[in-house]
């Protein structure tokens, strides 16, 4: 597609529920990233995929968070047993691996945990 596509754009769930957020990167971009942005803050790195494998998952806050990219394109961020503190905008980005490292971000999925 023309840009990074994320679904859903908004998700409201109850504490303790399971949530999946989807990201479809720019066609041809091998690198995919998940970031989390809380209100009034800058985005924080969660995880980076190069192809199908998670090359760096050091930003995942705890084991309730997991992400997959089984075919090296679309990725799903999975959050188990959601907590109110998980409420944030979840941003996906993709890039070409190369010199610049420039990331192209999607519109984000806003998660609200009640």
């Amino acid at each position: 597609g023309a840009g990074v596509s994320q679904t859903p754009s908004n998700k409201v769930t109850e504490k303790g529920k399971y949530v999946e957020l989807r990201c479809d990167p720019i066609s041809g971009h091998t690198a995919l990233y998940w970031y989390r942005q809380s209100l009034g803050q800058g985005p924080e790195f969660l995880i980076y995929f190069q192809g199908t494998g998670a090359a760096d998952d050091s930003g995942l806050p705890n084991d309730r968070f997991f992400a997959v990219r089984p075919e090296g394109s679309v990725s799903t961020l999975k959050i188990q047993r959601t907590e109110r503190g998980d409420s944030a905008m979840y941003l996906c980005a993709s890039s070409l691996i190369g010199v610049t490292g420039e990331l192209f971000f999607g519109e984000g999925s806003r998660l609200t945990v009640l």
Partner: protein, 112 residues
């Protein structure tokens, strides 16, 4: 641990005025990025600065990088209302590519 600080965090300007936003970072890096974010929207890439002394300009915005001072500036010339947004700088932490450390952002409001 790499820290990125922006100042000011809030900036109210009149149209036609000039101003500079500063981005300081705490450890060595030679890759710095500026992004713009409109309310409720995602981040739009503005500038990619990859070496000491790099200067990039687009319209009324100009960004520069001094890696020795660990400082980048985003200069706004003759501001217009359409520039109202939040501006983030982000620094590559030197680990895996794409692990960027973002500042808290500068919320710019340009008033007529």
């Amino acid at each position: 641990e790499l820290k990125v600080e922006q100042n000011p965090l809030f900036l109210s300007m009149q149209e036609g005025k000039n101003y500079t936003i500063y981005c300081n970072y705490s450890t060595t890096s030679d890759r710095l990025y500026w992004y713009r974010q409109d309310p409720g929207k995602s981040l739009e890439s503005l500038f990619v600065l990859l070496s000491n002394g790099a200067v990039k300009q687009e319209g009324r915005l100009m960004a520069s990088l001094d890696t020795k001072a660990r400082l980048s500036t985003l200069h706004i010339t003759a501001a217009v209302h359409d520039l109202s947004a939040t501006y983030f700088c982000a620094v590559d932490d030197g680990g895996s590519q794409g692990n960027l450390i973002f500042g808290k952002g500068t919320k710019l409001s340009v008033k007529p």
